[in-house]
Amino acid sequence: MKTIQTDLLQGTLDLLVLKTLQSGPRHGWDISQRINQVSEDVLRIGQGSLYPALHRLEDKGWIDAEWGASENNRRAKFYRLTASGRKRLAEQTVIWQRFAAAVALILKTV
């Protein structure tokens, strides 16, 4: 399958990042790998989109950042979901699913 360039709707990338962090803190590279991997290489997040997105989310207070040690003990910045981020994720998931269902419905019938 071809890789989809993630010039997706901005909200989509935010949603993906938030979802990825749901299972626990990760650093930036890990997040991009994770999305890459879970989407079976369909979604590839460029660094040019990822870091601005991370800072934007941090600015909004949905995620928190903290410096810590990576797997092989290197200094890395870890991002973690905040309470309001968790709420945002839940809301956006519902919205996204309804949106996707609606689009699917239209594509099916028309």
């Binding site: 930036g28 460029g46 601005p52 600015d59 890395a76």
Partner: protein, 925 residues
């Protein structure tokens, strides 16, 4: 929210650290990519290249991440500030002139505002001052009181009268009223110019009389000892006094053992029981600093007037001020509503016996007295309101000065933006947002303004000292004894004024200089349309500067002429080499024979002193804003039938006319035969004779003042008119009586000593002589008559000085502005001038052309300025003397002066234009 703010601030102040973190994070990402690539079997070099390729522009990522920190605005502002500071350093002359002119403008405004703050805004130093209510009343003119003491309350509608002074009986009735929303109702009154003596050292000070709940109601505790209570106000209470902190410090050296000490006030011995706290100056007018507060019950002993109960057959004088503290949540309107009925009933009950036909029953109910209120937060405010008119005029002047400074700096900025045109064009061409550039230029303006404000504060400190000195020099221009501090409110005002100023002078040039037609401006920018628009704005600014200068100079001219007219006014007496001073033996317990004996002794000793040409004394100091007047009853008139014939009164020693150089016109003057027991005689002024005896038969007529003194005085002489109250007044009738024939009203006398040499040298001798007669009697208001007369024109003089100073400054700034505009215009027209000269124009012709253009701006400014001037000077009409607010001569002089300055300002650029070498000029094309 606060987290966001913290992050933003962190981003600004820990900029470097944040940058490093961003670097670290991206580097970490890159290294992980490389690792991944290597684990897939690439060589290290290849792996790095691939990672970098997929990573994209590192700087781009960083920039985007940075934007999202929400710090760009602050970041750029900081950048602008640093840039602005660099620009200021680059052109120090420009910066110095701009900052200096702004500092003068802002400093003048700050200084004046600190006076406005102290005089008009500051509240009493008591807890919750806004819960205090001060009562007042108003009534129709038909309602007459048995004498009021104090100021007439301000802003009373025409045809009505009113005051904040109440009859003591009314105060007691209000106090007795139950169920009011006032927790403490209390009364206080002024005892002016009392003789206060401690440890044998006497001085003249104001004192306040207070009711028992005064201190409790205000919530003012004692700094030392105790305050006064209801017990101190009982009829048989021991005399207790609370002295002010200032008096304690200045007269008692802050002695901690002051409690229990004796203080004599008008010869009544009080015991000091407490000291009021620092900063609490009582509740009287702003410029009154009562040395002590004593119980109201001692009023008659202290004043000798019995104002509380009134003299035989008359009800008391209206002299106490009534204040109350509102219960929490209650309003002043509720307080008035609950007390209005009691007030009116009592006021009508004690209203004095009708002096004419009017009786209570005949007063129209619409003329009944009604209770009113105002906030008590500032104490009595009549005096504050009197000063406010002076302050508003001065505020107008300094605001104008600031506007002129703004126009000047705006013009300088415009001229500079011409030289920065290429830089700005370049930046616009390279895609800088216009708003971004405007912001940067405005930041520079604000920096200039704030710097001007900071320097202005220094000017203001100097200015407030000068203003305080004006207050202390007497003449009632500004209150005496007030020190003006630069408190928080004043500094906030300065910052606000600086910011507004910065926007005011910065916005137009910033908008103008960024509105460039890019292509034409890039081509050396000399004759683009923007250049024309810019110079049009700067011409407008110059025109307005000339207009505002005209306004200030014209005002200065009017006041200079006013002062001159007042000082050369015919006084009617000789004020040269005359020293005057005040003695108040009446307040030190002297009466009847002892009093006469005292005056005689002092007079004889003074007259016997070498160097004294003559000496005399009188009841009312001449030309000192002091009035003592009464209606006089002409022969055949009674209090019931008589019309009101008002005359000024003067009680004099028999040699008064000779000593003062007032010529006798008819009849005789007083002699040493006019003593108590002989026929009371009077001498009147020409005006009195003319007004009241137009048939010329004044000598031998008998007049009086009231029922008791009908026809008491025989008029024996007529003297020439003199000024009485002030230099400004119209000549009014004066009625002179002999001091030796008077028993009332002679407790205070003004001595006048004519010396052969410098009169001020006699001052210490006068003190020594008086001390030799009574060591506890203070000699006050010692000054020359010339100084005393000059005091009555102090306000006009201050206006004249200020307007002249600021007017000169304004003209200087306008000249600089005109010079700048003309220089710029000549520089721009170099080509054109060159062509003209190549075509045969004469040097003189070019000179005339440029000068004519400059004068055109000046003349337009004069025309606009004269319209503004005639619209505004009517506000000062009342302050002028001997000159109208549209005086053509003053106007002509000021106009010619301004044109002359404009001519000089245009001359240098014009000369430069005339020296243009056609060849050089054409080559620059």
């Amino acid at each position: 929210m606060t987290k966001g703010l913290r992050k933003r601030l962190r981003a600004v102040f820990l900029r470097r650290q944040m940058e490093r973190e961003l670097d670290d994070e991206l580097r970490f990402h890159l290294e992980k990519d490389i690792e991944l690539n290597m684990s897939r079997g690439m060589g290290e070099k290849e792996a790095r290249a691939a990672a970098l390729r997929s990573f994209g522009g590192v700087e781009e990522v960083k920039e985007e991440s940075r934007d999202l920190r929400g710090v760009r605005f602050l970041d750029e502002t900081w950048q602008d500030i640093r840039y602005g500071l660099r620009m200021m350093k680059k052109s120090p002359a420009f910066t110095a002139i701009a900052v200096l002119s702004l500092a003068l403008g802002i400093g003048a405004n700050t200084a004046l505002f600190s006076v406005v703050d102290s005089v008009l805004l500051q509240k009493l130093a008591v807890p919750e001052p806004d819960r205090l209510v001060l009562f007042e009343w108003q009534a129709g003119k038909a309602f007459r009181t048995s004498g009021t003491s104090g100021y007439g309350a301000g802003d009373i509608p025409k045809g009505r009268r009113g005051s904040s002074s109440f009859n003591h009986g009314i105060y007691e009735a209000m106090l007795a009223q139950e169920g009011t929303p006032v927790t403490d109702l209390f009364a206080f009154a002024a005892l002016w110019q009392a003789n206060v003596s401690v440890d044998g050292r006497a001085d003249v000070s104001d004192v306040q009389l207070v009711s028992g709940r005064y201190f409790a109601g205000l919530g003012v505790p004692a700094a030392l000892g105790r305050t006064l209570t209801d017990e101190d106000n009982l009829p048989n209470a021991a005399p207790a006094a609370v002295i002010s902190h200032a008096f304690w410090q200045s007269k008692l050296g802050g002695d901690p053992d002051v409690i229990g000490k004796r203080i004599d006030i008008n010869k009544v011995a009080f015991t000091i029981v407490g000291v009021s706290p620092k900063g609490f100056n009582g509740t009287l007018q702003i410029d009154m600093y009562p040395a002590a507060s004593v119980p109201l019950v001692f009023e008659s002993q202290l004043s000798g007037e019995n104002m509380i109960d009134g003299r035989a057959g008359r009800s008391g004088v209206w002299f106490v001020h009534v204040m109350g503290r509102l219960k929490p949540g209650a309003t002043r309107e509720q307080a008035v509503a609950s007390l209005a009925g009691t007030f009116q009933a009592k006021a009508l009950e004690i209203q004095p016996p009708p002096t004419r036909e009017t009786d209570v029953a005949e007063i129209d109910p619409k003329d009944y007295p009604v209770l009113m209120q105002r906030s008590g937060a500032q104490g009595l405010t009549e005096s504050r309101r009197i000063y406010s008119s002076t302050l508003y005029i001065l505020m107008g002047v300094v605001a104008l000065v600031l506007l002129i400074a703004c126009a000047n700096v705006a013009n300088m900025l415009l001229a500079r933006s011409a030289s920065r045109g290429t830089e700005i064009t370049l930046r616009l061409a390279m895609g800088a947002g216009r708003w971004r550039l405007v912001r940067q230029l405005l930041t520079e303006s604000l920096l200039l303004a704030l710097l001007g404000g900071a320097v202005g504060v220094l000017f203001a400190i100097w200015g407030t000292d000068a203003l305080a000195a004006i207050g202390d020099s007497g003449g009632n221009v500004l209150p005496e004894g007030v020190t003006y501090g630069l408190n928080l409110r004043v500094l906030l005002f300065t910052v606000a004024v600086s910011v507004v100023t910065g926007v005011l002078f910065g916005l137009a040039p910033a908008l103008r200089s960024t509105r460039l037609d890019l292509t034409s401006a890039m081509k050396e920018g000399s004759r683009g349309t923007a250049g024309i628009a810019r110079s049009r704005l700067s011409k407008t600014l110059v025109v307005s500067q000339v207009a505002m200068s005209l306004l200030l100079l014209f005002g200065a001219g009017l006041f200079l002429r006013t002062v001159y007219n007042l000082q050369s006014v015919e006084l009617g007496f000789d004020q040269e080499n005359l020293l005057v001073f005040t003695l108040r033996p009446g307040k030190a317990g002297y009466e009847t024979d002892r009093l006469h004996e005292f005056y005689r002794t002092v007079f004889e000793r003074i007259e016997a002193t070498p160097g004294v040409a003559a000496a005399t004394y009188c009841r009312v100091p001449l030309v000192a804003n002091n009035t003592f007047d009464s209606g006089v009853l002409l022969p055949g008139e009674t209090p019931q039938s008589g019309e009101e014939h008002l005359t000024n009164l003067q009680i004099v020693r028999e040699n008064f006319f000779e000593t003062m150089g007032i010529p006798l016109l008819a009849g005789r003057g007083f002699t040493d035969l006019d003593v108590e027991g002989s026929q009371p005689v009077a001498v009147v002024s020409e005006k009195f004779a003319r007004d009241y005896f137009p048939e010329g038969n004044v000598l031998g007529q008998r007049v009086g003042f009231d029922e008791k003194s009908l026809g008491k005085y025989e008029i024996v002489g007529v003297v020439r008119d003199t000024k009485y109250n002030s230099l400004r007044e119209d000549i009014a009738p004066i009625f002179y009586t002999s001091a030796r024939q008077e028993t009332d009203n002679i407790g205070t006398m003004y001595f006048a000593v004519r010396t052969n040499g410098d009169p001020t040298a006699f001052a210490p001798i006068a003190r020594k002589i008086v001390n030799g007669v009574d060591s506890e009697l203070p000699v006050t208001d010692v000054m020359t008559q010339e100084a005393r007369s000059a005091r009555t024109v102090a306000e006009e003089r201050v206006f004249a000085q200020m307007l002249t100073f600021f007017g000169a400054l304004a003209v200087l700034l306008a000249a600089i502005g005109l010079y700048g505009v003309m220089s710029y215009s000549v520089a721009q027209r170099t080509n054109e001038i060159g062509i003209r000269m190549a075509l045969g124009a004469e040097t003189g012709g070019v000179l005339r052309m440029v000068v004519a253009q400059g004068l055109k701006f000046a003349i337009i400014g004069l025309v606009i300025g004269s319209i503004a001037t005639f619209a505004l000077t009517r506000f000062i009409e009342g302050q002028l003397y001997g000159v109208t607010a549209s005086d053509p001569l003053t106007f002509a002089v000021v106009g010619v002066l301004l044109l002359a300055v404009a001519l000089v300002a245009c001359w240098i650029p014009a000369m430069r234009a005339a020296r243009v070498d056609p060849m050089v000029a054409l080559r620059t094309e």
